[in-house]
Structures are given as C-alpha cells and as structure tokens.
Symmetry: none
DNA sequence: AATGAATGAGACTTCATTCAT
DNA sequence: CATGAATGAAGTCTCATTCAT
C-alpha cells in the first residue's frame, strides 16, 4: 500500500523532534488518504455524476483547489479509488479461495470474505456496486478503467475450474456456471450491499440454492402433499 | 417530424432552418410517443443524470422547448416513462405466471417472458435496469416514484407462495427464497440485459441451478466451509 | 363579461333563440372585452413583466394563439388596455371637476370620483398604479405610450389654475402645488389602491391636510427647522 | 478587476479573452461591494424582474458564475441589497429625527435627510422606490423580506406620537396622519426620486401644505363638495 | 501544500410568438 | 375565429477546473 506520492515537495518541518524509527506520516499522505476514502464513500453512495468536486473536497476536509494537488481530475480520482479498491479486495479473495478445495467451499468462502469486508468498510462494497452503472453512464470511465475490469472474470473462472477438477461441475456447464456467478455477483454488490443483514441473507440464499436445499422440483404428480 | 427514435443520432438535418410555428402534419400523440420512447432508450442506456434535455429532444425529433408541452420537467418525463413501463411489463408477467402451476414453472415462464420482451424492445429492460441506480443517485426520483416500486416485490412474493402451496418450498424458507429472487432479478436486469444472448444464457443458468442440475455437491470428503 | 372560462370548449349553441332587433354582439367582441378586462386585472396586479401570455389567455378563457387575433403583441395589448383605461377615467374626472368651482372643491370631487371608480372596478385603479413601474422597467412601454402620459399633467394643471382664479392659491405657488398633486396622485394609485378602506382614509387625510385641519404648527416655542 | 460600478456600461473590454482561474489582484471584499452596488443600481432602475444575471455580473465586472460565490441566488442578492439599504437609511433617519422636537420639525428633518442621501447616492432612493412594485410582482421577495418591511411603519408612527405630545396633532387624528405620511412617502420614493430637483420641489410642497401655507380655503362662498 | 475567487461551458426551464389545421 | 404544437432565444443556476496568492 504505496504510502507515497509526495508530489515532489517534502514536508517542510517535522513538528515534533525527530523520533527514531519510521519517519512520521507526512500530512500530505494523510490528506491523500482522506481524499480517497471520502471519494470512495461518496462515489459509492451517489455515483460519479452526482458527486461534485465540492462534495469530494468537503468529505476530505479540504477545498476544491487542493484536490488538484493529488489527482489530475475528478475522473482521475475515480480511477484511483478503483485501483485502490481492487488492491484491497483481491488479496482477501485470493486468500479465501485458497483456504478451500471444492467449488462450493471456495464460492462460499469468497462470498463470506466479501461480506466480512462489507462489514469492516461498507464503502468498499458500495463503490464496487456503483462502478457498473458509472461505467455505462460515463464512457470516459470505461475507457480509463480499461483492463482493470476483466480481473474479476479471471478470478471467478478459476473457481469454476476448481469445480470441474473436483467433479462438482461438468466441463460443458462451465460457461453456464460462470454466467451464473456473474449474475449473483451483480446482485450481491449492486442490489444487496446497502444492508449488511440483507446481504447476509442473500448470500445464504445463494448457497442454499446452489446446494439444492432451497427448491425441490416436484417429480411427477403436480400438487402432492408437503414433503418432510 | 417525429418519426425518429434514432436516439442520439443527429439525423440528416433538413438543411433549411425550421420555420417558427407549428410544423405541418404533426400529430400530438405521435410526438408524445416519440418522446417517451426516445426517453426510455436514453435513460436506459445512460441513466437519468447523464441524459440532457437536448438529448431527449433530439431523440424525439423536436426542440427542448417542445418537451415541456408534454411533461412538466425532466423528472416528470422519467416518472412518465416509468409508469408506462410498468403497465407494459406487469400485464405480460401476470399472464406468464398464470400459465403455470409450480414455482419452477412460474419462475421460468416469467423469466422467459422478460426475455421475450427484451427481444421485442430492449429499451424496456434497459430502463428497468437503470432505475435502481437512478433512484439511489437522484433522491427526487425515489420520492416521485413512491409506491410504484414495491409492486415488483408483491408480484414475486405471490410466486413464492405458489411454491409453498405446491410443496416445492418449505414455508420457513420463504424469506430466503424471496431474497434469492430479488438477487437474480437485479442481476438479470442490471447486469445481463445489454446482450440478448447473455441474458438468455443467464436465465438458463439460473433455472439450471434452481433445478439442482448445475452443481452437485461432492458427498463424502468436502472440507467444511468456514463462516465469518 | 364573457361567458367563458370553459377554457377550450366551445359553446356549442346559442342557448337562447335569436331575438329581434340589434344584432347580437358577435362573440368576437365579447372575447375582445374579456381579453382587455382580464389583461387589465393581471397587469394591474402583477405588472407587465410578470404576466405571461398564457395567463392572459386563461383569464380571457381562450388560448394563447387566439390572443393574436385581437392584438399584435403582448406590448400592444398593454397599450390597448392603457388607452381603454384613459377613456374611462378622464370622462369621469372631467365631470367631477366641472361640478365644483373652488380648487379644494374640485380636488376633492376628483379624488372622490377616483375612489368611486376604484370601488366599481378596482382593476382600473390597480392598472393605473402599475403603469409607472412598468414604464420604467420596460422602455418599450414608455415609447409606445408616448404622449398619452402627459394628459394627466394637463388635467391637474387646469385645477391648479382654478385655484389661482378663486384666490385659494398664489400664482407663484402654482408649480409647487402641481408637484404636490403629482405626489399624492402617485401615493393614491401606487400605494393605497389595493385596499378600498385605506384609499378612503388616505384621501380624507390629504383633504384634511390641505384644509389645514390635520396639523397645527405650534406657534411659540418651536425649534426652527433648518433648511429651506 | 472589480473597480467598476459603471453599471450597465460594457466598459472597454481588454480585448484579450480572460484566462481561466483567479485573476490577479482581486480582493473579495471589493468584488462584493461592486456586486451589491451594481445590483442596487440596476434593481432600482429597472426592477427585479427586468434585471438579468448577466446585467448584474456586467455591472460588477465579473461573470455570472462569480455572482454565486457571494449570493445564493438572484433573490438572495436582492434581499442582501435590501438589508444593506435599510442599515444605511435608518441610521440617518433616526439621527435626523432626534435633532428636532416638533412633529413638523422632525418630519422636515427626515425628509431633508432623505433628500441629502438621494443626492449622495441616488441608487439608494431608487432602490427603495422599486421595492414596493417588486414585492407585489414577485411574491418570493415579499416572503423573503418578511418583517423587514414594517420597520418603516414603526419609525413614522414614532414621529406622529411626537406630534401628539407636542400638541400639534390631536390623538384622534393619529391614524389619518399616519396614512398621510405613508402616502407622501410613496410619492417621494416611487414618484419623485428620479430627479433631484423634482424631489426637492416635492418635499418643499409637502412641507408647505402641512404648514398650511400652500392652500387657503376661501372662507365664505364655497360650494360644498359632494361625497359618494 | 492549500485557498478560494473566478471562469466558461452547459444544464434545465420559461416564454412570446408563429402557423398548420 | 380558434387551437395548440412547436420554435428559438433568453434566463437562472451549476460545476469542473484554473490560478494568483
């Protein structure tokens, strides 16, 4: 997590007498952190177009002019937030995925990890949920994001492969399953992220359906009695 | 001069600057249709905030001022499009739902109906997909939409109830299942609506998973999934 | 006063069977009357700039397009109303003036006539009160009104002359007195016209002051006022 | 680049298109002063509705956007100008009033003070004269002005009371006299403020009439005025 | 590094007027 | 005579961005 970007200028003086060890976090890097964090929040909540530079500045506790010391434009800030977000998320996802061996296990582990992160910092999930719409509404974003967006695809493709290897999934169903995952991912971020409880419930429902626990097709006769 | 619906295409300009006053051969109802249709397209594609009055006027083949003969404001136009959309969709959905008796049958029939409608007029589905984000980004929309938004909930609750009656679903799973439906609906409209083929595939994947055909848990040696 | 307010719906048939004698007032002339009357009201209440053509049309029970059958423009309508107003007022004023012989008598008679007219049709007085401001705010009006505005001056100059003839006023005070009349006229139309009661009171106060009944300078120990 | 106050004069354009960003040597307080002053001028001359943002900006030597650094809206600017005006006027009025003891003395002192202020800065008086019409034409103004408008009433009520105390006025005539003052005030601001000379003359005429010097009723043979 | 005054482009909206019907 | 759809110009306001300080 890169710390730097001191934009050439050193912090002019160290308030306190220099202590040993790690040099003090420059004020600059704190401001940068505040800007990114505030932006993630606002973008996630209201989307790129509805957030003004003034909002962004206020959320970071600076003025609009100051923003331009840290980013080149509002668009650039959005891209920065996106990059930062991806770094945070995929580490956790990878870790979760590796802890399990079956498709179902990996899927559940990853969804749980996503939920944990949502609990720790909801702005992250909300931002992810906003990206799709923003990309469609503001073509500049899609262009600037470029390849960054296919990472997710690759990641979940890996999980599907694990399911094939374990025998849970037939090779010919891979494409279908991947589509399904894409689908629930959209639902989980765009739709269910604004309430922790709701997201928890949604994840559980997905896992139940995937396990075949939620719906049992009635075999022959149309309306039989309740099953046990 | 309606005719259009070329949405966004400036069209080939009848070089001569239009005279003032009422153009020949206009029919109010056609223009109104052109405005609604163009707006549905644009809103669905780029969202409320990114579509300008100029865009809307151009898509309907009129000037921005003319818009205000038909609606009171841009917001009002959005609401109008929404109302129109609901009328179109729910008739079809109800019809589809009634044609089947099981939960799975009803679900599939409704999703297929949605897909058919998407094929007939993609702007409808795209608009539906845009509404959620727009509502979050522009509070005025949520306020004006009011109760109109809960209709969907009620409709799908009915389907779940049918599943309980038929024995496919346990009563205690109703809430979970409803959450699942919400989820895939979001995924199907927000995420998969921009490509017919993709949406078809997504619907199939959902039905396959729901039927238990897509994933078969390996019975014996599966590592237990941890839970946060 | 014009039947109407059916806004858009034609009177389908002339209720009563045609009577003999004078040909019926064409609908046209009734409409014209309605337009002038409605305009006088609106202009008097809100001023030229704040009244829209739509307001004017609605007040007359027609559509904006119809307005242009009767006047050439909004400005033209204003001028028309003004001309109509002057015709109505100065007949009454002249009559009142001629009924008295002294300056005080004439002044009171005229102010009373003004008050009577205000009672009969307040829109007239309100319109008069609005003209000054409108003229200043919209130079086109002043230009179109042209000489029409000096009529008032001439009229009141005549009354002052009568005061000189009767011995109530010294010739060298003529200019001063005319200025005074101008002043109270402004006050009586611009300021006091919106409440009949108030206008009555204002007129009485003016007459009382002019008669010397309202304020009696204290003869002996008054600090001399500075300034001429 | 403020400096100006040329109100309405486009000034001689420094041919080169202005660069973006903050111009050199700006002082916020000067610009604010220029905006208020220019607005007072324009509003006073043409009224709220006829003055555009572009006019206001040009009069202050800035662009329309810059206006919104200082006020929240055109309406807000109007209110601000009004507040500023009241502050300036009532100090002077109070001072003038306290310098005299009789009703006539106080009245003359106050009117003279008004005239002096008109000479020093005519925009002030013109603005006062415009307020009544603006309030009637634009209800928002009346609402925003709120209590600020009754101050004048209170002030002149005080002068009338002084007249009662000094014996110049009978208690039962108080209401009548107050109405008279209201009347001449309207006449003096709305009607006579656009020419210094005229206003001087109008004030003199009022004082002469109040003193009983201008009109002497002919004692014996006066025809009685009729009354409606 | 930070401020905040200022710009300029463009958004939404209103309105007098025109004109085919 | 009357309608009302439509125009086009103008008005109020917003906002990303720049730049002197």
């Amino acid at each position: 997590m890169p710390s730097v970007i001191l934009a050439g200028v050193e912090a002019q003086h160290n308030e306190a007498p220099r202590r040993r060890g790690r040099p003090p976090d420059t004020k600059s890097s704190e401001t940068r952190e505040a800007i990114l964090s505030g932006a993630r929040n606002l973008f996630g909540e209201r989307g790129y177009g509805s957030v003004t530079n003034k909002d962004l500045a206020a959320a970071a506790g600076v003025t609009t002019g100051a923003l331009y010391h840290y980013v080149e434009s509002k668009l650039d800030l959005y891209i920065e937030v996106h990059r930062d977000m991806q770094g945070r998320i995929y580490g956790r996802f990878q870790e979760a995925e590796l802890s399990q061996e079956t498709f179902i296990g990996k899927l559940e582990a990853v969804l749980n990890a996503a939920h944990d992160m949502n609990r720790e910092d909801p702005s992250l999930t909300k931002f992810v949920g906003a990206v799709r719409a923003d990309t469609r509404r503001h073509p500049e974003i899609g262009e600037s994001l470029g390849a960054a967006m296919t990472d997710r695809e690759r990641f979940f493709l890996g999980i599907v492969e694990a399911g094939i290897a374990s025998g849970e999934v037939r090779r010919q169903d891979a494409a279908l399953l991947q589509e399904f995952i894409r689908l629930i991912l959209v639902g989980l971020t765009d739709g269910a992220s604004h309430s922790l409880q709701r997201q928890r419930c949604a994840i559980d429902s997905v896992m139940a359906v995937v396990r075949g626990d939620l719906v049992r097709p009635v075999p022959k006769s149309s309306l039989p009695a309740q099953h046990a």
